[in-house]
Subunit: 595 residues, 2 copies
Amino acid sequence: MFGRMLVVDLSKGTTREEAIEPAVVSSYLGGKGLGIYLLDKMSEKGADPLSEGNPLLFLTGPFTGTPFPTSGRFTIVTKSPHTGIFVDSHIGGHFGHTLRKAGYDVIAVTGKAPEPVYLWIDDGSVEIRDAKSFWGKTVDETVDAVRAETDSKAHVAVIGPAGENKVTIANITVDKDSDPWRAGIAGRGGSGAVMGSKNLKAVAVRGTGPVPMKDEKALRARSTELAKAITANPQIHTRRVVGTSSLVEAMSRTGILPTNNFQRGYFTPIYGLTSTNLRFHTKRDVACFNCPIVCGKVLQDDGHDTKVEYESIALLGSNNGIGSIIDVTRAVRICNELGMDSISAGGIVGFAMECKERGLLPDAPSFGDSDGQAALLKDMAFKKGLGELLSDGVRRAAAKIGQGTEDFAIAVKGLELPGYEPRATWGMALAYATSDRGACHQRAWTVLGELDGILPRFKTEGMALKVKMTQDERAAAYSLVVCDFTPYDQDAVYPSLADAAGIDMDPDSYLSVGERIWNHIRLFNIREGGISRKDDTLPHRMFNEPLPMPPRGEDTVTLTKEAFDAMLDEYYEMRKWDKNGIPSPEILKKLGLSD
Amino acid sequence: MFGRMLVVDLSKGTTREEAIEPAVVSSYLGGKGLGIYLLDKMSEKGADPLSEGNPLLFLTGPFTGTPFPTSGRFTIVTKSPHTGIFVDSHIGGHFGHTLRKAGYDVIAVTGKAPEPVYLWIDDGSVEIRDAKSFWGKTVDETVDAVRAETDSKAHVAVIGPAGENKVTIANITVDKDSDPWRAGIAGRGGSGAVMGSKNLKAVAVRGTGPVPMKDEKALRARSTELAKAITANPQIHTRRVVGTSSLVEAMSRTGILPTNNFQRGYFTPIYGLTSTNLRFHTKRDVACFNCPIVCGKVLQDDGHDTKVEYESIALLGSNNGIGSIIDVTRAVRICNELGMDSISAGGIVGFAMECKERGLLPDAPSFGDSDGQAALLKDMAFKKGLGELLSDGVRRAAAKIGQGTEDFAIAVKGLELPGYEPRATWGMALAYATSDRGACHQRAWTVLGELDGILPRFKTEGMALKVKMTQDERAAAYSLVVCDFTPYDQDAVYPSLADAAGIDMDPDSYLSVGERIWNHIRLFNIREGGISRKDDTLPHRMFNEPLPMPPRGEDTVTLTKEAFDAMLDEYYEMRKWDKNGIPSPEILKKLGLSD
């Protein structure tokens, strides 16, 4: 049902098929879970992430391409060149289900091609093709060039110049924003640099076969009901109308919207960045495969279609003092064309702007300088000028610059923070600090829980449990693979998993899969990155500067190290990890990870 | 240029034309200003608002029907049967400019018809026609019936059953929500009951002539530039997309959204009431005459088109514990069909719900009971059952019920509060207390100023000045007449006024007009309503209960009587009113009001 792997050895120029054992699928599902399993198994211990010893994995899950709602996503897993630890990145659009229709559930790319190549997967036939003439092309140009040589409707995962240049925030992009359907991006952690290090410019796929399912009819009937329930939800209506940008004004009103490199959590006036202003400028709505939500909002800058999301508005907008959605669209378009993560890119520009504000880096742009941001983004992709110093992230840049800049290098484990100020949302403080890939909002997202009164605000109570449970649940969900925007009925997952892939699971075993994945990644990160309690923390600013709150910064909020440590201690205890963040033998035994 | 008045004496069944003197127009402009001038001049002192001695005035302004942006509005002025003092109510849509095209700038309706009539104004010819067969019809039915007898595209101001029954929150409605253009409502203060007391069911107008202007070409050129600037503003983009509902989530996040009869200022979860959920359900967008904003959002309930606004969402939604935009749409539809002010109606239902919660009024609906709200609204329009007790407002209802209900009767000078919690926005506390028509959000609206850090929050400093200046400026703007949603360039008003109506004005004289109007209304209210400092206050709850703040009500805010009194003292001083709120001889002399 699920487990058909294509192994591509770029060093040898060979491809072969391999079946994942059913027991592995039962223990890890697909996506993120199967990703850590295979990464651990296939990678050389201690390998440089940009070397041949680091595999690059494209993974679908047992739900990918099935009628289960939001089954259009897939997962990239590798060791991150940006953080030196595990990274998984989940991509919407139409590549995942097409890969399964072409006969493969997973692609494992190993080794390194001597010269630029691309992969062409056409309904079960696989070719490694010459890509020398594509080298240097932007994302959109590459998609077009590959389609011209394969199929005009092929779905194509590509890297842009940033990936070629092994910029450690380079992403992998599927298709282009000007396609009639929704493009997708594996943004975080620099998987694009790994792809670039392998001289792999693109992976194109055409798939017309069936997706194997145990009981398609039953799955289809249940999925129809699920889709109805999803589209009846008012929060989904909002996603339909404005996508993720719905958060912008709420975050700013409540002190959570990063502003001027996380110096405060509100932007005034906010009206140039709100969701309803974004909607005004939206040219069209785009959806992933089999998605009833249609959250993608495409704006235009300079005639180029560009999908704009909350995270980009936060990091390339307010965080850098920029209050125009059109200026944000421009910055996103540059990131997209050159192939860079807009969250990390925005965080890096914000760091440079604060350096400038403090009299360091006189050539950096100032807060609010949209043209300066645009120029710096381009330089980062090509490692030119200041871009050379900055493009590998704020942690490395601060280490080079010194002069106290480490204190405002806003990253956890080297990964720049997403768009939620942790001093204003304490659940996110713990979630960022303990996330498996560095500061991440998608492992446990407590923000609306705190704003809606479901969780306490500015308190530590209950946060550890919520974060731990959500991390486990999300780790399983990202292994199915489904979208995090879906308020799907958890109880519908188990019978659907049986129908989709013949996997029997109940709430306990499902959460166990998530917990197994989470612990397996922790072990990998300890081994490869030396991760321990010292790394499960927040940037210096968060414990040492009070956060000015809206509307005027006259009131402040302080997150003390003591309060944070209390949450972390409780979290370790719930995880059955020791005081240093190392999993105990009992929990590893319970999860079958003792080896 | 401006000042052509039609006087209709319904007692005698006669009509005549009269010219307003140019000196009066220079001192009062049109709309609100001319309204107080004429009301004072034409009404019998101390007359019952529902008697023949109270005139009902329909007033356009010198900008109405001109190319000046948002010139589609007009004004109703009368003595309110709900509050016993002055009321002006401003209506969008297409009646105002059509009236001017028909040859009239003002209609003054006096006396009382012995039997139901309607007025048909057809390009300068005027008829008082029999309306007996229309009596009892809903708003939409009446519009249709009048059009069938006049012109299928006539713009028709009507009352519904509530107005016929002299319910003191009855409104006057222009056209119907199912028209292709935007309908309009004079909601506040019960002008519909005054119309009902005169046995006047409708006023229909057809106008095809030119609107007189001094220099149409110059005004048109400047107006085109103004409209461009308006539509370039991001806040206008938001209005275009979601109308006034843009405020809902921001108000709830900041503790300002009335909830459960102003017991707190946030509603959770808010997602069923947000602007983006409203947009999801919006069937079409409608605009007033000559409006580049297009803020009207038409939803549907039971197949009926219904325009839904922020105030209705606040008062018929969150304030009554109702969290579904479709339930709000239903309640608005009932108010619209029967012809009642949705703000006061919502406030009254909320009062009844709190009575129920406290064990009084066992037959009242509970918070959250949408069906119960719908039934009570119908009963109010027909003064049936509990509706009889409640339909004349919370002040009168509390006086009848006693048992401490006065403490949570949420009104100022008898007018129910609009959708902003005064404990959470102290500028509005002063604005409500000093508004000329009772609790009103449109005389001085400080809400976003406080949230955007332009004004202080939870402080008194600067509020008196801001409220006083805004009241004066708005009084002048409501006399032009233009819409309050337009961020128009103040400097463009003066030359436009010269071009439109040959009136020369500068910033000082313009504000003087506003101040004159404000003081003239104060004198009228003192004489007719015995208004003084004792009335310039807030409901008991506001000074005696701390306001629970979002997200969970664990933090509270308190507005003390002392802080409020400090603002009020400062306000009186700026107005040159004495400690009791009576205008001083100097200010009256300065404004030419000594007589």
